[in-house]
Symmetry: C2
Subunit: 234 residues, 2 copies
DNA sequence: ATGCCACAAATAATGTACGATCTGTTCGAA
DNA sequence: TTCGAACAGATCGTACATTATTTGTGGCAT
């Protein structure tokens, strides 16, 4: 067995429906259970998920198409390496897309939408980062309220895909105090701009929000690297 | 055999290397040989490409991940429907991304780069749209000179993917005279801005360029639809 | 004794074949 | 005409064969 192989403790029992293997592998990748750059051997995965090799192979191909997995001919698949450059790249794209989506949202927003945003934000503030996992869900939902309504499915899907990746990375790192403060205040400012129909202001805040998020993640990745690589940060 | 099935004339002989089936199907999709919404039956495709079903299945999964194919469980795959909304969506994304890539290019451009751009543009003007296929290649190369150098591989890849789709669609339609004039003048303006290090000007022109391209394609799609759907427009 | 090349066995990806299961349709009876 | 069961067609899963790459071993020259 070589340096970094696939080790999944539980031979998760019987997920039969088509497409389930795909979701399982994908979830294992973005949740970090399958580490970046880990080799993905079809036989091992098939054993882990309790199926034969074909579903695994097809799942890997789909994941390759989505960019979660890189493959070399006759040399198999690996989990894509998610490094600082990777994060920077998708953040740069989001800095362009999210303000545009937000601007449009301002033009179609209703009172009910704003109420939902405020409810989501209230939950986030009530939780106050005590449960990082849960915070990630809530934060995603907050922004999803804004983006999911957009007519441009391509843009919204792109956002969602990037979001899942970033959320998976963030899960491994703590959120600095300054970042927590910034997140809360930026959310509040965003809601305020939306309410007063200030599209440009909202777009500017979102751009700042995304940039800040990216900067924070990259900083945390740097810290983790300097402290030496380890499986599970305390 | 139902309304729209896969009909490929030649049972193209023996493409053995791994990944070749994927490229063949992909090429058949973006070139329009496989029409939008056509059903993709693995057995038929396997016969067409002279392999067994498994390579085809995996190729389809990868194409699904890339968004060229949509699949329903137990109901197989279809070529994604490329309609006006589809084009509008990716154009909207490109209007955001391409100016950003261009802005950065202006900041790192060398004399040699500009010379290459001018050479490409000279070829385009010499050809003067007499061969649409070739024009598509040249135009792609022109913009590729600008985007391929960017450090953000995600953004550049996204551009490339969108570019291929748009090029495949454009191939089916003629280019209006007004569009031809606009393309040439915008290219020239772009080079001028780049030379005088006017990043904002270049970005603005690119935005206009992309928007105009999208508008033109959508108009042509509308014309084709009103004239009744047909396989090969004269 | 050490380093390097050639060759052989193991490991894993890729391709082929077949059976099971699901979906849509058609034919027949109420 | 409508409901239902049998049939056909295609997808999805399993098992197996083939091919490529890697690894380990042994011999040979330095």
């Amino acid at each position: 067995m070589s340096e970094n192989d696939v080790i999944l403790t539980a031979p998760e029992p019987a997920l039969d429906q088509p497409g389930k293997v795909y979701e399982a592998i994908r979830e294992d990748i973005i949740s970090g259970r399958l580490e970046p750059n880990a080799r993905l051997k079809v036989a091992d995965l098939a054993a882990s998920y309790g199926t034969s090799t074909n579903p695994v192979r097809e799942a890997l191909q789909q994941l390759r198409g989505e960019g979660f997995v890189v493959m070399e001919a006759n040399r198999g698949a690996r989990v894509v390496a998610i490094d600082e450059a990777f994060v920077r790249d998708i953040i740069e794209i989001e800095v362009l897309i999210e303000p545009a989506l937000t601007r449009w949202f301002v033009s179609i927003v209703t009172d009910a939408d704003i109420a939902e945003l405020e409810a989501a934000q209230a939950e986030i503030e009530a939780l106050n980062f005590s449960d990082p996992q849960r915070h990630g869900q809530l934060d995603t939902r907050f922004h999803q309220l804004i983006y999911d309504r957009h007519y441009n499915r391509h843009a919204a899907d792109l956002w969602w895909k990037h979001r899942e990746i970033l959320r998976a990375i963030s899960r491994r790192f703590p959120t600095s105090l300054s970042r927590r403060v910034a997140v809360l205040s930026e959310h509040r400012e965003l809601i305020a701009c939306i309410r007063r129909q200030d599209a440009e202001g909202a777009a500017a805040i979102v751009a700042r929000h995304v940039e800040g998020s990216g900067r924070h993640i990259i900083e945390q990745m740097g810290v983790a690297k300097r402290n030496g690589p380890r499986k599970r940060p305390a």
